[in-house]
Each structure stands twice: as structure tokens, then as C-alpha cells.
């Protein structure tokens, strides 16, 4: 296995041990991993909800750029950085 490198053409999805779930008791989204609970920020939740194992990073970034009326290049850079960080932690596959 080699280290995952996220690029525009990558098709990201959460690693099989990770679940994205809304936590009713605390009214917030959580990423559940074995023995870990992470609280992603709002933008991360938007991105992760689009990581369905079908859409490419480019598609995801374009959708978010349109939704938030933000510059596509900037959004793309931020999305890749965020997903790379999760991939480095073993939480994302592509």
C-alpha cells in the first residue's frame, strides 16, 4: 500500500472504519472512528457529505464553489488540503 495522494481526479470516500453521523444529543455532526470522535467544522461536513465514492474532487469542489459562490480555485485548494489531511490520518480513501 502506498500513501494516498489527493488530486482533482481522485474519487474520495470515507475509510470503511469511519462513519459520519449527526449526534442528536449534542446537536452536531461527528466523525466516528474506532475509539475516536472527531467534530468536523461546517465546511468539512459539506465536503464529506459529497464524498460518496462516485464524485471526483473536481466535481465536489465545483459544487461547493457554486453553492457558496466562492472562487473555484480557492475552494479546490482548500478541499484538497482538507481531504489530504484526513487521508494522512487513514480516515479517507481515494
Amino acid at each position: 500500500m502506498s500513501t494516498v495522494r489527493i488530486a482533482g481526479a481522485s474519487v474520495p470516500s470515507l475509510a470503511p472504519q469511519i462513519r459520519l453521523r449527526f449526534d442528536e444529543a449534542r446537536r452536531r455532526w461527528t466523525l466516528l472512528a474506532p475509539e475516536r470522535v472527531l467534530v468536523p467544522d461546517e465546511i468539512a461536513v459539506e465536503v464529506l457529505q459529497l464524498c460518496d465514492g462516485v464524485a471526483t474532487v473536481d466535481t465536489i469542489a465545483a459544487a461547493l464553489a457554486a453553492k457558496f459562490q466562492a472562487p473555484p480555485d480557492e475552494v479546490s485548494r482548500d478541499v484538497i488540503e482538507m481531504l489530504q489531511d484526513l487521508a494522512d490520518k487513514g480516515m479517507l480513501v481515494a
Binding site: 500513501t3 453521523r21 475509539e35 494522512d88 487513514g90
Partner: protein, 365 residues
């Protein structure tokens, strides 16, 4: 004092029965007998209450949880409630069909323990012939069932030399996570301390091995590392703090802030058969007893680490000092710290005594 937050995780000790006899088992020296175990309906009610209370993770543990024939039904109940389910298992009792059934029931994750990488040594430590080979086989069933795998390796002076191979084994088995857990010394492990305690030099080599592997395997394998706190300067935040994050339901239904808390004298732990999980979490004396920082003596009370380590481990403090509220001797500011480190160093340098295996009755020897 800040408001009490809901618990994040529940450790469900379904049974104390286990085919293995590891001499560092985290179960109490006095184990619950099979006849006193909660039945299926009682466990399902516990999970219903846990989900409502805000629990996100359920860890099925034991003993060996697969001893329970209703494990699939319990997993299914949790899955229906949206709880993240983790099976903590020795693996030796699980066959291919059972693993498939567990996956179908909605299990999220499997954690298999190994006693090392050398089959003969691992079987000797676990007290179960053929166990290591069986675990390797079952790890394959986990992969086949499409379930994520964590390997858990408890390390000590009798297997630390195998650490590099243990890391290799985790990668080879397709685990995405490895827990390298140095033995923590209470209960059975405290009885076997001299036989298990590594030297400081062994510990330093192990730490370097883990750090190198983390860098090399970034993105492939996550390594969680638990150090033996006798050689640390500050104690561990046991359970993330008493009554802050975790609750533990023992086989007979007692609710504990940690799995070892039944060793603490003079405390009453309430039972799910008599009171709801919510009432026990928010309202029981046992959970209030060491919650937060109000109970702390000096030097903990004014220490700037008090909300980081939460006063360390109560079970360890009591086991080593005989006083419930004593400073955890793992802390460098504890009175007995230097003596504790010295005894660990002495024991680790001397010959290893014979292991006392986890069996009903042997703890009394």
C-alpha cells in the same frame, strides 16, 4: 464546576468467560460467573438507554464477547440505534460464518488482540495452544466480511523484542490501525508486574520503533501507543477522567466509571437492573466521587495539569498506596514516585518470575 456532559462511549463487558488466560488481563481478580450475566433483553435495554443518553460508541468486550451466542442480536440492536459498534475479541472462537453474521448484523469494526508475532511465544503468554495461528486466520475472515480491522498488541518484557514484526503483521493482515499497548499494572498485571515490566532501555527502543513506523506507514497504518506510565513523568488521564467520557457495564449489570473500579473498597456501584443508565451517570454517588477536580488533594488541586490528567488512575493510586484519594504514584510529584520507578527498574532488570495465569482461583495464590 462545569456541568456533567453525557458519556461518549460504553464498554459492554458481556461476560468474564474467556478461553485465553493472559496474565495481564484487565478483568478483576474476582470474576463474575456465567449464571450472573445479564440476559439478551437486559443488554438491549442498556443499549437503548445508552443511545438516548448520548453514547456514540459501544465496545463489546469481556472476557471474550463471542462466548455469548446472542452477540449478533446485541450488535443488531446497537446498529438500529445508530451506535458505532466495535468488537474487541481474542478471535479464537469466531469462524467464517459467524464473522459474516456479525457483519450482516451491522458491526462497524473488529479489534483482534495478539500476544506477539512469534506463534510459540504468543500461545505461551495467552495460555492457549494454537491461538496465534487461529487469530491470523480469523483476521482473514474479517477482511472477507468487508470489516475494518484493528490489531491490538499488549507489549511487555517477554514480547517487546517482537514489536517490529508485530507492526509488520498488522500491515500484512490489512489492519488500518494498530494499538501498541504497554501493559498497565493493576489487577492481574500488577500480580505479574516483575514478569512483565520492561527496562527503560527496552521501552525507549520500542518508542523509537513506533515513531519510525508511524512516519513510514503514514496513510496506511495508524499506530496508537500506550506507554507504561511508571516510566512517565505524569500519570495518564485514566478513562479520560472519572465519569467524564466512559461508562462500563460489567457482565452482571454493575455500572462502573472504569472496568477496574470494582477493586476500590467502600464504593457502591449501582446496577442497570435497578436504575436507569441516565440516573446512574448523572445521579449516582460512585460517578460523582472522583468526577472533575473538587475531590483532589494537593498537589493535584492546584496543579496546572489537573484538567489534562484528571488526577491519573484511582485504581492504580489505591492499589499502590492503599488510599483512595492519593496522588497517582505514576506522577513525578507523588510522594512514592521515586520508589515506584526504582522498584520497576529493579524488577525489570532481574530474572522474570513465572507467570500467574488468569484463571478462576489463581489470583489467590
Amino acid at each position: 464546576m462545569t456541568a456533567v456532559e453525557p458519556p461518549l462511549a460504553l464498554l459492554a463487558e458481556l461476560t468474564h468467560r474467556c478461553p485465553l488466560q493472559c496474565p495481564y488481563c484487565s478483568n478483576p481478580l474476582e470474576m463474575d460467573r456465567a449464571a450472573t450475566e445479564l440476559d439478551t433483553a437486559a443488554w438491549q435495554r442498556v443499549f437503548d438507554e445508552a443511545a438516548k443518553l448520548g453514547v456514540l460508541h459501544v465496545h463489546f468486550s469481556g472476557g471474550e464477547p463471542a462466548v455469548r451466542r446472542d452477540l449478533e442480536m446485541l450488535v443488531a440492536r446497537c446498529a438500529g440505534l445508530g451506535l458505532y459498534t466495535n468488537l474487541i475479541t481474542s478471535a479464537v472462537l469466531i469462524d467464517r460464518a459467524r464473522m459474516q453474521a456479525l457483519a450482516k448484523a451491522g458491526l462497524n469494526h473488529v479489534q483482534i488482540s495478539v500476544q506477539g508475532s512469534d506463534p510459540a511465544n504468543a500461545d505461551r503468554i495467552g495460555g492457549y495452544a494454537g491461538g496465534h495461528a487461529r487469530k491470523i486466520e480469523v483476521a482473514g475472515f474479517v477482511r472477507e466480511a468487508g470489516l475494518p480491522l484493528t490489531l491490538n498488541a499488549v507489549m511487555h518484557r517477554q514480547n517487546l523484542g517482537e514489536l517490529g514484526e508485530v507492526i509488520g503483521l498488522a500491515v500484512q493482515l490489512g489492519a488500518r490501525r494498530l494499538e501498541v499497548a504497554h501493559v498497565q499494572y493493576y489487577g492481574w498485571a500488577l500480580k505479574n508486574r516483575a514478569a512483565l515490566m520492561p527496562t527503560r532501555a527496552q521501552l525507549e527502543r520500542a518508542t523509537a520503533t513506533v515513531e519510525a513506523a508511524r512516519a513510514r506507514l503514514k496513510g496506511t497504518l495508524v499506530i496508537d501507543y500506550v506507554v507504561p506510565d511508571y516510566y512517565a513523568r505524569r500519570p495518564k488521564a485514566c478513562m479520560g477522567g472519572w465519569g467524564r467520557r466512559f461508562l462500563n457495564v460489567s457482565p452482571n449489570g454493575s455500572v462502573l466509571p472504569c472496568h477496574a473500579a470494582s477493586t476500590l473498597p467502600g464504593m457502591t456501584f449501582e446496577n442497570v437492573k435497578e436504575r436507569s443508565l441516565k440516573d446512574i451517570w448523572y445521579g449516582s454517588e460512585a460517578f460523582e466521587r472522583f468526577r472533575g477536580t473538587g475531590w483532589m488533594p494537593e498537589p493535584c488541586r492546584s496543579c496546572d495539569q489537573r484538567e489534562i490528567d484528571w488526577g491519573g488512575c484511582r485504581c492504580q493510586a489505591f492499589a499502590l498506596t492503599g488510599a483512595l484519594e492519593a496522588v497517582d504514584p505514576a506522577c513525578e510529584f507523588a510522594e512514592g514516585h521515586a520508589a515506584l520507578v526504582a522498584s520497576a527498574e529493579d524488577e525489570s532488570a532481574g530474572p522474570a518470575p513465572a507467570l500467574i495465569y488468569r484463571r478462576i482461583g489463581t489470583a489467590l495464590v
